[in-house]
């Protein structure tokens, strides 16, 4: 078509006629929302336009980013993982308790990661081999992790280990600004996850299962391995997020992270991942977390709005994205 109108094929025309692939539209929308919120905040409040605010956004939400990455894998297969908030609480508790008992910090971290991964494996096996709905199996996981947390200690335990505090407070300077290790770990997780989803056989199978599990099975893809695998990944991410969270908050408490699974799910949905599975990107989830984070920051900067508005605004955003998704997917069969 464009060949006929060659004379007017100027750069500007090409820019005007360019439309991004539909599959990237949700991410672009989320990115635009983030930029819009940031710009509006920058105009309205002094000091918000500072790049350090952006870096702080990454630092303060590092654990949520990791959590959302794990959740993205699960949601892409059409499942859901409600247990992640409890696993975060369990991780902080295991870290705090083992450190209190005098374990080496590295051993303690390994214990945390192994526990979360093992819980994920258990849930994955239940879901795949016994046909239990993901929702109900991870509900059991939620209760189990929270129960074990209470079993370890009902009281809050603070973390005083020098390795942990050093890791928590050590900064990496970028010019005049700084970032913490937790944020770097979170970004690395996003990068690894994006690579796995886009470039590996495992990642492509995740999308295939989300599109249609029976088709994936008939195509001879490794459905069982992948389906259990995504819950293992989610469990691992939840425990890693738990470690980051314990670095952030430096204590283990059985009341930590109540309802954090909702934040993670909201971030994934706002990031443009379809809840029915098969479509979405990890980068979208990162942007989703950042959108939630910037809303929190805006409310903190404003000062007159109470913190509960975060919940309401998150709900409204969730509604908007879900409804738009619904109509967008209805058009393409």
């Amino acid at each position: 078509m464009s060949a006929v109108t060659v004379p007017t094929d100027l750069t500007w025309d090409r820019v005007k006629r360019y439309s991004p692939p539909t599959r990237y539209l949700p991410i672009i929308a989320t990115f635009a929302l983030f930029v819009g919120l940031f710009a509006a905040g920058g105009v309205r409040y002094d000091g918000l336009a500072d790049p350090q605010v952006l870096l702080s956004l990454l630092i303060d939400n590092a654990f949520l980013i990791v959590l959302a990455v794990g959740m993205t894998f699960v949601i892409l297969t059409g499942g859901i993982d409600l247990s992640v908030g409890s696993v975060v609480a369990l991780s902080t508790m295991i870290a705090a308790k083992t450190l209190e008992m005098g374990w080496s910090p590295y051993l303690s971290m390994t214990a945390v990661l192994l526990t979360g991964t093992f819980l994920g494996l258990l849930m994955g096996l239940l879901i795949h081999y016994f046909d239990i709905q993901p929702f109900i199996a991870t509900l059991a996981g939620l209760f189990l992790a929270r129960g074990i947390t209470y079993l370890i200690s009902v009281e809050s335990i603070s973390i005083k280990d020098p390795t942990f505090t050093e890791l928590a407070f050590r900064t990496v300077n970028i010019g005049d600004y700084y970032i913490r290790w937790t944020a770097i770990i979170a970004l690395l997780t996003v990068a690894v996850a994006a690579f796995v989803l886009a470039r590996t056989r495992f990642g492509r199978t995740v999308y295939a299962i989300g599109g249609s599990e029976s088709s994936a099975m008939l195509m001879g893809l490794r459905v069982a391995f992948t389906k259990v695998g995504v819950y293992v990944i989610s469990g691992f991410c939840a425990s890693l997020a738990g470690l980051l969270f314990s670095l952030y908050i430096l204590s283990g408490n059985s009341l930590h992270a109540v309802g954090m699974e909702l934040d993670a799910i909201a971030a994934v949905v706002i990031g443009g991942t379809l809840l029915t599975g098969g479509r979405g990107y990890v980068v979208g989830s990162l942007l989703g977390v950042l959108v939630l984070g910037i809303i929190k920051t805006l409310i903190a900067f404003d000062g007159t709005l109470s913190s509960y508005w975060i919940r309401i605004i998150t709900g409204v955003l969730l509604l908007a994205f879900v409804v738009v998704q619904r109509f967008a997917t209805r058009r393409q069969p």
Binding site: A140, G147, V154, L262, S306, I312, R326
Partner: protein, 356 residues
């Protein structure tokens, strides 16, 4: 079913056997730990004892679970009930505090009615998202689950609102005919629901929608209206539960009121033998399931374990019940047993509940 069944066979195949058995086992454990556990005596003109406490404490979960049963029967799920309960409590408490005469019966009635109406509307909103916009139930109700506690806090302005109204607190601590009022309300709602669903065609229509929404629509069932109605009903039940919880402490804490009650309610429904796949439901099963959860909450401190460990036991119960219901797990078990072909028994347990 053949008429030749003996009484024993009927008992063994009854869908309520396992939930009731589980409840009895819990009670036996309690009696072993504390021999006087089942004692009930009269005090201040009403019955008093552990069992009565269990009945009273089971009311909120029972109410929520009743609404949830119907929602699950249509192959849906309602995650927002905890948030709706918090909103109901917040609305009622702020109305009572804001009223001219804080302790009068009229104030209590007006406030509770107002709160219940709000909850029915919120439930209808869920129904709208599910039936008209066609959003998956778990997602549609997730929205209100996330936003609801914020709304509840916006109503109470983030404060813990305390009320001083004797009539209102009677909702939780009052007694009628020597039994706790809260329990009687729950049983009343149960009786009404049972009457409406089992003595009219409504129950069958709900199950039809749960089995296949499209086919039931083609058969002339107004699937949309029915889905809408069950979510509104679930909102109503959640609202009542929220009121009972708030009346119990005479205050509302928007952050913690009804926290995880949706999970308890789903657990009660699942224990009662209602399948999460939809299409059949058992109100009596839900009743027993709610009693089971309340008894479990009582048992754990009674046998000397910190009550917070409750969650661990709930996890075990969820997994056990799901494995019992899962056809794959049953197949594995049956192969292991290598017993005589008990073929018909298993499908009856799976399909039971739709028979009445």
């Amino acid at each position: 079913m053949p008429e030749t069944q003996t009484f024993a066979q009927r008992v063994v195949r009854h869908p309520l056997l396992w939930p009731v058995l589980a409840l009895v086992v819990l009670l036996v454990i309690n009696v072993v730990a504390t021999p006087s556990f089942l004692d009930v005596r009269m005090q201040d003109g009403h019955l008093y004892g552990n069992v009565i406490d269990i009945l009273r404490n089971s009311a909120p979960v029972m109410l929520v679970a009743l609404g949830m049963t119907l929602v699950i029967a249509t192959r849906g799920i309602d995650l927002s009930v905890g948030a709706i309960a918090a909103i109901a409590a917040a609305v009622a408490c702020t109305r009572i505090v804001g009223a001219g005469d804080e302790s009068s019966l009229t104030t209590a009635l007006m406030a509770t009615t107002y709160a219940v109406v709000v909850c029915v509307l919120l439930g209808a909103w869920n129904g709208f998202l599910v039936s008209v916009l066609g959003i998956q139930p778990i997602i549609a109700t997730l929205i209100l689950m996330v936003a609801g506690r914020g709304i509840s806090m916006a109503v109470t302005d983030g404060q813990i609102t305390t009320v001083n109204n004797g009539w209102f607190s009677d909702l939780a601590s009052g007694y009628v005919l020597t039994l706790p009022l809260a329990f009687l309300i729950a049983v009343g709602v149960l009786a009404l629901t049972a009457l409406l669903t089992r003595r009219t065609a409504l129950g069958m229509l709900i199950e039809a929608v749960g089995i296949n929404p499209e086919a039931s629509r083609l058969a002339g069932v107004r699937a949309r209206t029915i889905i809408w109605t069950v979510y509104a009903f679930s909102g109503l039940c959640a609202g009542l539960a929220g009121l009972v919880i708030a009346a119990n402490t005479n205050s509302v804490n928007a952050n913690s009121l009804g926290l995880w009650i949706e999970l308890d309610a789903i657990l009660a429904v699942v224990i009662g033998g209602t399948s999460l796949a939809g299409g059949r439901f058992s109100l009596m099963g839900t009743f027993v399931g709610a009693l089971f959860i309340a008894t479990l909450a009582r048992t754990i401190p009674n046998i000397g374990i910190p009550s917070e460990v409750n969650y661990l036991f709930k996890a075990v119960v969820v997994i056990a019940v799901c494995l019992l219901q899962s056809p794959k797990a049953r197949a594995v078990l049956r192969v292991r047993r290598q017993g005589p072909p008990r073929g018909p028994a298993a499908p009856v347990l799976v399909k039971a509940g739709s028979t009445s």
